[in-house]
Amino acid sequence: MSDVILSIKNLTANVDGQPILKGVDLEIKAGEIHAIMGRNGSGKSTLSKIIAGHPEYEVTGGEIIYKGENLLEKEAEERALDGIFLAFQYPLEIPGVSNLDFLRVAYNAQLKHLGKEEIDEFDFEDLIEAKLEVVKMNPSFLGRSLNEGFSGGEKKRNEILQMALLEPSLGILDEIDSGLDIDALRIVSEGVNQLAHPENAFLLITHYQRLLDYITPQFVHVMYDGRIVKSGGKELALELEETGYDFLDEKVAAGVA
């Protein structure tokens, strides 16, 4: 339980020359579920994209160590192959590329990376059908173009399906709850809960406490103006629900945070 999966120290980053992250510290160990909460623009989505290696963000200082290696030296593709998975807030629609092909190519890329033999279409179909159970998705989704014409909830379920297939060491869920009705939220959350085990870890990025009714984090962090300003247990989320984020402005103004 004490293996450190991700360790972020004093991370600073810019987007378009504007500082967005101003010194983030975070440590995630195997078997843990962390949640980062905060207002829009606090930098929480930026943090998730930086961990995944989005080329748009420029890291200006600090470090990210993933499983003992310097993550910042690696390209997005390599990070993914090493077990970092980002469930997108807005999954992209890709016309003409079937969901099934996309999943199979991604899965085979991982097998290849692990030095294993790639699997053929037939074996893959058997494999993916079992995974569909995790998010209660209809097999008809496999034949459709990737995310094209999917509802918001279907897109998010499709993200969890990909995660179930790729079995990452670190799953980052960027506002997975946004745009979901209660039923979809329950299915998505149950999917994540099924995937959690002592060897992997999850980082939930969310705006609302609602998600945490379904997925229970051991650690909750509050992000404000590019920093994690408060950390605690799951009760912190409830506290935030009560007080909102406004108290942070006062704290910062008072130089407390």
Binding site: P55, A76, E77, P91, P95, V97, H113, Q162, L166
Partner: protein
């Protein structure tokens, strides 16, 4: 940030080699004497010489078209060699043993083996090298079905009456500048004749190879499908890499009589020039099909990946009632390539229908324009057209344009046009990368996905190859 799309490093063009072979070439330049000389070299019947001279005299009075959205320095028509043939192939070959082994080797290297043992099993091939046809496979087998498939030079000797009847009936000699030039100096090409009621038992294909650096290639293809006949035909093309530009001005005419069906597919991979735009083929081609009979159908499918400049509008004249015209196109441009391509659907008969699906992909600093005309003539009652023109941009420096021309002179005719532009950007590539998929695989999946509707129209044997060609052409296009 969004400008991280870097300069393109292309996969080397693997067909860029030159075959060292002795040729019979005439001096550079064009004159009435040159036209007569070409005709004499080919021992043509008198009507053919007349056809050529008429075209040449017209051409002298014409000017080069300038309306296309392409730029290139003026072509010096007196600096082109209008006829070049491997010396040994000037006499009629009876068997493959008579062919220079260097030529057989060339075609084998291009993936078009001609020998009995190695040839493609279900595709008959006419192999054209510079100005002449080298060999046509399966000719005898096809003859058993009454199908004529041979070079147009041979057809002029063996079936002059058919050539005289159909040549120039779809693309008249004075149709346009390049078509007139072609009519005056064309040296070879393929002839296909499918008699009444015959479904051609195999795919027919012509493979064009430009070898000589100073030679223009002016081939002429004529395909006639009589009543109830049907045929599927494919052309492929490559050329060596030269620093200079070579002119390719072909004319293709298709004639479909009552209930006939012609499917014409092209996979064009001429040398496109290097990444700085040096060299490459100028592909100025006139292709037109005439749906002469009732219920006839002509379908064009093209995958255009090569050429420095493409100027090409495979068209259908829908004369017969209920006739159908189709145009499925993928035009991919990279580096400094320029393409101005599309189609013309001319509806004359009643209840004629046409479909246009065009997919343009532009990368690098290339320019890719779709230009299409849909014309509904006054008598085209109940005619319908559906057009869909999609463009995909890779990077920030490529250009995509759509120029649709619609002219409707019949109130009962219906025209639908849809267009879209998409961009392969960082976000899409990041999505794929985040799933561990390499950039090359991502681009190739995105592009084949974009082109799916058109690739599915190609004959099976070639669809996979064309798909592969597309990814090859884009390797390293975004970095």
């Amino acid at each position: 940030m969004s400008a991280t799309v870097k300069t393109l490093v292309n996969q080397p063009y693997k067909y860029g080699f030159v075959t060292d072979i002795e040729t019979d070439s005439i001096p550079r330049g064009l004159s009435e004497d040159v036209v007569r000389l070409i005709s004499a070299k080919k021992n043509e019947p008198e009507f053919m010489l007349e056809f050529r001279l008429k075209a040449y005299r017209h051409w002298l009075k014409m000017t080069e078209p300038e309306w296309a959205h392409v730029n290139y320095p003026a072509i010096d028509y007196q600096n082109i060699v209008y006829y070049s043939a491997p010396t040994k192939e000037t006499k009629k070959v009876e068997s493959l043993d008579d062919i220079d082994p260097a030529l057989l080797e060339t075609f084998e290297k291009l993936g078009i083996p001609l020998s009995e043992q190695k040839r493609l099993s279900n595709v008959a091939v006419d192999a054209i090298f510079d100005s002449v046809s080298i060999a046509t496979t399966f000719k005898k087998d096809l003859a058993k079905h009454g199908v004529i498939f041979c070079s147009i030079s041979e057809a002029l000797q063996d079936h002059p009456e058919l050539i005289q009847k159909y040549l120039g009936t779809v693309v008249p000699t004075a149709d346009n500048f390049f078509a007139a030039l072609n009519a005056a100096v064309f040296s070879d090409g393929s002839f296909v004749f499918i008699p009444k009621g015959v479904k051609c038992p195999m795919e027919l294909s012509t493979y064009f190879r430009i070898n000589n650096g100073d030679t223009g290639q002016f081939e002429r293809t004529l395909i006639v499908a009589e009543e109830g006949a049907s045929v599927s035909y494919l052309e492929g093309c490559t050329a060596p890499m030269f620093d200079t530009n070579q002119l390719h001005a072909a004319v293709v005419e298709l004639v479909a009589l009552d209930n006939a069906d012609i499917k014409y597919s092209t996979v064009q991979n001429w040398f496109a020039g290097d990444e700085n735009g040096k060299g490459g083929i100028y592909n100025f081609v006139t292709k037109r099909g005439l749906c002469k009979g009732v219920n006839s159908k002509i379908s064009w499918t093209q995958v255009e990946t090569g050429s420095a400049i493409t100027w090409k509008y495979p068209s259908c004249v829908l004369l017969g009632d209920n006739s159908v015209g189709e145009f499925y196109s993928i035009a991919l441009t990279n580096n400094m390539q320029q393409a101005d391509t599309g189609t013309k659907m001319i509806h004359i008969g009643k209840n004629t229908r046409s479909t246009i699906i065009s997919k343009g992909i532009s990368a690098g600093k290339s320019k890719n324009s779709y230009r299409g005309l849909v014309k509904m003539n006054p008598k085209a009652d109940g005619a319908r057209n559906y057009s869909q023109c999609d463009s995909m941009l890779l990077g920030d420096t490529a250009e995509a344009n759509t120029f649709p021309y619609i002219q409707v002179d019949n109130q009962n005719a219906k025209v639908e046009h849809e267009a879209s532009t998409a961009k392969i950007g960082e976000e899409q590539l990041f999505y794929f990368a985040q799933r561990g998929i390499s950039e090359e695989d991502a681009i190739s999946m995105l592009v084949s996905g974009f082109c799916k509707d058109v690739l599915s129209e190609l004959p099976m044997e070639f669809a996979a190859e064309a798909d592969k060609l597309l990814s090859l052409k884009l390797e390293g296009a975004v970095g």
